[in-house]
């Protein structure tokens, strides 16, 4: 065993350009294996684009991405998709409406030629807290929280080492959000997964992640640890504004009517 473990994910000066719009302006980050890293920012800040660029869903025009020590080229290999899986924001839009949960979970296994399909599907469902009774349901027969569990099961069934989470709970109720966040934390502990998680909610990110990066206009504003954020040890005004905003509405002093 080497003394210095290779980093799970290294992004170096990544650029993404849509037509003439620079969505990412030289963003760099590195994530250690087993770490949970958060990306925060307002809409249009490029946080989702960064995630999609890593997954190969956005056109990169500069910089490099290294996953588990391997530099990624223009095309992603099949092996890459076994290592890296993504969970999308909207559980209503990311599951095929005409396929049963069984088909949804079968497809990645078939693509990658896994053996023991039957056992794996049952285990995946069990792991996300859905019984085998959910196996032959369609996604419209599930609630939002259950759908997101299926999406997580689909991502986990290939036994990836890195999970990209794009606002996994922002379409869910607060009570269901708590359940899904707990599930994600437990899976990360059990499987020693690396998380890269995007959220607009500072509270969710500080709850889930050890370190985080604040983004604005496609560039990094600040990188800090969740502990520093909790202690309000921030250096940038933008981060401070986000912190204040996440604490709820404060009525300016009003003379009593």
């Amino acid at each position: 065993m080497k003394t210095s473990e290779p980093k799970a994910l290294v992004v170096d000066k990544l650029e993404v350009t849509f037509d003439r719009f620079r969505a990412l302006r030289g963003v760099s980050l590195d994530v250690m294996p087993g770490e949970s890293f958060g990306l925060v920012g307002e809409s249009g800040s490029g946080k989702s684009t960064l995630l999609r660029a890593i997954a190969g869903l956005a056109p990169t025009t500069g910089g490099s991405i290294t996953v588990n020590g391997k530099l990624l080229g223009r095309n992603r290999t099949k092996a890459f998709y076994r290592e890296v899986q993504m969970v999308f924001q909207d559980p209503y839009g990311s599951l095929h409406p005409r396929q049963t949960v069984d088909r949804l979970l079968l497809e990645p296994l078939a693509v990658h030629g896994f053996p023991d399909i039957e056992k794996r599907i049952l285990r995946a469902l069990d792991e996300v807290g859905l019984g085998s009774s959910f196996r032959f349901r369609y996604s419209h027969q599930l609630s939002g929280g259950q759908r997101q569990r299926v999406a997580i099961a689909r991502a986990l069934i290939l036994e990836p080492s890195i999970l990209l989470l794009d606002e996994p709970t922002s379409a869910l109720d607060a009570s269901v959000q708590a359940e899904v966040l707990n599930l994600l934390e437990q899976i990360r502990r059990d499987r020693k997964l690396t998380f890269l998680m995007v959220s607009h909610d500072l509270a969710v990110v500080t709850h889930m992640c050890d370190r985080l990066m604040v983004m604005q206009n496609g560039a990094e504003v600040e990188r800090l640890s969740a502990a520093d954020l909790a202690r309000h040890k921030v250096t940038q005004d933008y981060t401070r504004n986000l912190l204040v905003a996440s604490e709820g509405f404060v009525r300016p002093d009003v003379p009593a009517a």
């Binding site: 307002e42 809409s43 939002g144 109720d173 607060a174 009570s175 269901v176 959000q177 708590a178 359940e179 966040l181 707990n182 934390e185 437990q186 607009h200 909610d201 500072l202 509270a203 969710v204 500080t206 709850h207 889930m208 954020l229 909790a230 202690r231 504004n241 986000l242 912190l243 905003a245 996440s246 604490e247 709820g248 509405f249 404060v250 009525r251 300016p252 009003v254 009517a257």
Partner: protein
């Protein structure tokens, strides 16, 4: 405090192929010129309560109430025409997502003018002037320019401000805001809330603020109604929320992650069947 709206034993039922779904089951409250929050999860009936007051429930649904009284008028007895003249004029509603609730093929200014001229006899020139003034009142920096823009040309926060402008141009007495900030970024959220807050205070409106975000509602409203499975489980002054008695309210408060609090795993709601009774 004068009472603006009285709701007593409001019920909304949807007949479906598999039987009748009770979306709202006996909701009662009164509203003066104050900010009232309605909180609950999806499916708790909070939006259907707002829609029933507004008169936007789908026609196949059945609405019954002992009293549904707005400023002396029984909303369930008056004619459809009378209801229409109230809607958008004295009672207005702000919806969640400006992307879907604004007309995509009409400029923002024309939509606001349309609302105004439906309810008041004003000249075109005056309507335009009032629309621009209203856009300025919701803190849109360049109202003359935004007047001619189409909804897809503005950001979500700007669209929501335009929506608020459209709803407030007739000077309603009762404003129902159904998740007005849920589709917006946190920083923009606060701007929109500040605008709403000022307008409600300056104009003395009654506001019903419907949201799933208990913490946001408690920081904004005077009084909060918590709904579960179509009925009210608790009504509480916003400042006393941390002393909420009902386990559902406490559960909703506790299950949210908080910056600085280190709760792993997060407490989850343990739903009891008797809450729905």
């Amino acid at each position: 405090m004068s009472t603006l709206l009285t709701v007593k034993d409001l019920r909304v039922q949807f007949p479906t192929r598999t039987g009748v779904v009770d979306a709202v089951r006996g909701v009662s409250f009164t509203l003066g010129r104050e900010r009232l929050g309605i909180v609950g999860e999806s499916g708790s009936g909070k939006s259907q309560t707002g829609r029933a007051i507004m008169g936007l429930t789908p026609p196949h649904a059945k609405i019954t109430a002992e009293t549904l009284n707005f400023d002396g008028k029984d909303l369930l007895q008056i004619s459809a025409a009378e209801r229409r003249s109230l809607r958008g004029n004295r009672i207005a509603m702000i919806l969640q997502d400006p992307k879907y609730s604004l007309n995509p093929v009409m400029s923002i200014g024309r939509q606001i003018v349309e609302t105004l001229r439906t309810h008041e006899k004003v000249s075109k020139a005056e309507a335009r002037k009032r629309a621009i003034d209203m856009l300025a009142a919701v803190q849109i920096r360049d109202p003359e320019r935004v007047y001619d823009l189409h909804p897809h040309e503005v950001s979500g926060g700007m669209g929501q401000r335009a929506m608020i402008a459209m709803m407030l141009i007739t000077g309603p007495e009762l404003l129902i805001a159904d998740e007005p900030t849920s589709a917006l970024d946190v920083t923009v959220q606060l701007d929109v809330l500040r605008i709403l807050d000022n307008l409600v205070r300056d104009r003395g409106m009654g506001l019903i603020f419907i949201s799933h975000d208990l913490r946001l509602v408690s920081s904004f409203c005077d009084r909060v109604i918590v709904m579960y499975a179509g009925h009210i489980v608790e009504e509480i002054a916003a400042k006393d929320l941390h002393n909420a008695k009902h386990p559902y309210t406490q559960g909703l408060l506790n299950c949210m992650p908080k910056i600085g609090a280190n709760k792993h795993p997060l407490p989850v709601l343990d739903r009891k069947p008797e809450w729905a009774a």
